[in-house]
């Protein structure tokens, strides 16, 4: 039984296609993050799961039950919003029990739930306050509390941390993670922040233009991006994508960057399809953190590139190198001194590379 299943779901606003043939499944207790740039349809998808938006095609199942036409309140879900959406005229207590009162739950049960949840979230001292008298973090907590008292099957979070300042955001992120570890409720969480997605999710679905680009564990999203969009979207700075061609001779496959006169051997790369590789136009993907200034593995590839730009950011520095007129970024500890406008020896960790077809932009 899947806690949540989305089957061939499509959604249009007038003539604009917002979601196209979305398929998703979540197992009990998992934490799925919908990640993507703004306008990719992730919030619409969440609203559809909540029942706040209608569907054009396809179905949504919760616990194998088709809820496509079921009212939000009957879906056994709870949602936390970006603006917290606390009812301004009600105090914290009234905010938290509003849903239970609508559902005509008995007074004793409501009190019991309220006490339990408010203690758990440490808002029990704030019950008589109005939302306007709370700090950002407290509002967030109350908003989560309002969702918790309903004991839903699925928690929906719509960018809950983006209204908080940087420090509080990191704190609340940890709290949400702890909350999930303790409660083990299924979560669908929308964000455009990759750090949030990586640190919280057991699964990440990366979306762009209404299509899921990759739905995988955070490790696979980072190490084996399924296309150039995912490769580019995840990581900061994002993965270097160097344009060039593959060469195949007998058993050796290698990569030659455009305009370059040497080959980078590709050994032990897990190709999806090993045929037709000769002269294939590809992007050679390597993350800035997988380029080193000292040889660390036997398989590292040594290369001489000119340093063009240095960005110091405290604990590390981001260097920009020129590779036959293509920019290559690398991340080094800030203690290393590299002279600009001079050729520098670099080492590519070839076990960490990704290759993409230049035409389809898919991983090969």
């Amino acid at each position: 039984m899947k806690t949540l299943k989305i089957d061939e779901l499509s959604k249009n606003f007038g003539t604009t296609e917002v979601l196209r043939k979305i398929n998703l499944e979540i197992d009990e207790g998992n934490f799925l993050v919908l990640l993507g740039p703004s306008g990719c349809g992730k919030s619409t998808l969440l609203n559809i799961i909540a029942g706040l938006e209608t569907i054009n095609e396809g179905n949504v199942y919760i616990d194998d039950y088709n809820v496509s036409k079921v009212e939000p309140k009957d879906r056994n879900i709870a949602m936390v919003f970006q603006s917290y959406a606390l009812y301004p005229s009600m105090n914290v207590r009234e905010n938290m029990i509003f849903g239970l009162k609508q559902a005509k739950v008995s007074k004793e049960k409501i009190e019991e739930q309220l006490l339990k949840v408010s203690k758990f979230l440490q808002v029990d001292a704030l019950l008589e306050r109005k939302p306007s008298q709370l700090s950002g973090g407290q509002r967030q907590r109350v908003a989560i509390g309002r969702a918790l008292v309903r004991e839903p099957r699925i928690f929906l979070f719509d960018e809950p941390l983006s209204n908080l300042d940087a420090k509080l955001r990191v704190e609340m992120r940890r709290e949400i993670k702890k909350l999930h570890q303790q409660l083990k409720t299924t979560v669908v969480y929308v964000t455009h922040d990759q750090t949030e997605a990586m640190s919280l999710g057991t699964n990440i679905a990366i979306m762009n233009h209404g299509v899921i680009q990759q739905n995988d564990t955070p490790e696979n999203i980072y190490n084996k991006p399924s296309n150039t969009f995912v490769a580019d979207f995840i990581g900061s700075p994002s993965m270097n994508l160097i344009k060039g061609n593959l060469k195949q001779s007998s058993n050796q496959i290698s990569f030659v960057a455009n305009g370059s006169n040497f080959e980078i051997p590709i050994n032990g790369y897990d190709f999806k399809e090993k045929s037709n590789l000769e002269n294939k136009e590809v992007y050679f993907g390597i993350r800035p953190e997988h380029i080193f200034s000292k040889k660390s593995n036997e398989g590292d590839f040594e290369i001489n590139l000119r340093a063009d730009l240095s960005e110091y950011i405290g604990h590390e520095q981001i260097m920009t190198f020129d590779y036959e007129n293509q920019e290559v970024l690398a991340k080094f500890p800030s203690t290393i001194k590299i002279e600009l406008s001079k050729n520098t020896k670099l080492y590519f960790d070839l076990t960490q590379i990704s290759l993409f077809d230049a035409k389809t932009e898919e991983r090969i």
Partner: protein, 300 residues
């Protein structure tokens, strides 16, 4: 050298101090002049209403009355008590109250409801509905007098307070809708979403979530509608006459139908009586208006 610079700064400081003082006093002078200019008519009205006709004939506009003589106020409010031809404001004042209270209530309520639907329950073509409603704000009232008279006739409520309530409600809706729509558009729609997930329906969301945070805009709307409806003369004089007339029409009749002599003191008293309710609404509601604005109710 150092000393010289020091003194010159001191001089500059002095000079700017004098300039500032002069400007400050000039500002006060202008403000006082304007205040006098605006308060002058009110002064004349009050003073004249307290004089006897004898005093009015002998003195000037500005002369202080000989004593507090409220006779003309009594005549304006309650008449002289000689039956036919004796027009006084009391019955028409209550006509106006009976007209203005329901008309303000219904137009405000309906405006709040339409504003709520147009912002939080968007439907296909809603922007057209809003556009047509906006259009209603710009129709000159003269243009609709005939069709409205016909409508009231068909409904059988012409020349009645109920008829006027209907007219004012209908013509208030474009304005009240505009006010509430512009207010509710700044209320995060996530509030409505949250309430829907919590299981609240259309009316519950309106009454429990949105109305309680609408105090500032309700006050604005009430002030606007009350002033409009209370001060209306056109609809009142067109759609009602005789006993059903509102106070502004009665005031006009009273002032124009005076017999041989113009009784300025009674006229002034009547005019003040007719104007006082709007003043009261401004003073009372204005306070809540400020309070509503500063409470920051909507800020999430």
């Amino acid at each position: 050298m150092q000393d010289k610079i020091h003194t010159s700064y001191k001089q500059l400081e002095q000079r700017s101090k004098y300039t500032n003082m002069f400007l400050r006093w000039f500002l006060y002078l202008v403000l006082i002049l304007f205040a006098l200019y605006f308060i002058f008519p009110l002064y004349v009205m009050i003073v004249t209403s307290l004089k006897t006709m004898e005093e009015i004939r002998q003195g000037t506009l500005l002369t202080w009355p000989s004593g507090l003589n409220f006779d003309s106020w009594a005549v304006a409010w309650g008449g002289r008590g000689y039956g036919a031809g004796d027009t006084f404001l009391k019955p028409y004042f209550w006509n106006s109250i009976k007209m203005v209270v329901p008309a303000v209530f219904f137009s405000t309520f309906i405006g709040a409801m339409t504003g709520y639907v147009l912002t939080k329950w968007r439907f296909k073509g809603d922007q057209w509905v809003f556009l047509f409603l906006l259009f209603g704000c710009f129709i000159p009232f003269q243009a609709i007098l005939l069709p409205m008279a016909r409508t009231l006739g068909v409904l059988g409520i012409s020349n009645s307070v109920i008829g006027l309530v209907l007219v004012h409600t209908v013509y208030g809706i474009p304005f009240t809708t505009l006010f509430f729509r512009n207010y509710y558009i700044s209320v995060p729609t996530e509030l409505v979403k949250a309430a829907r997930i919590d299981g609240a329906g259309f009316f519950k969301i309106f009454f429990k979530i949105l109305l309680p945070i609408s105090a500032p805009i309700i006050v604005v709307t009430v002030i606007w509608q009350f002033t409009q409806i209370w001060n209306d003369f056109l609809f009142g004089s067109t759609f009602s006459f005789g006993e059903a007339a509102p106070i502004q029409v009665a005031l006009n009749n009273m002032v124009l139908s005076s017999t041989s002599v113009k009784e300025y003191n009674v006229d002034m008293a009547s005019a003040i009586i007719a104007g006082v309710p709007t003043l009261i609404v401004y003073v009372l509601a204005g306070k809540y208006f400020i309070r509503g604005l500063t409470s920051g109710a909507v800020k999430g």
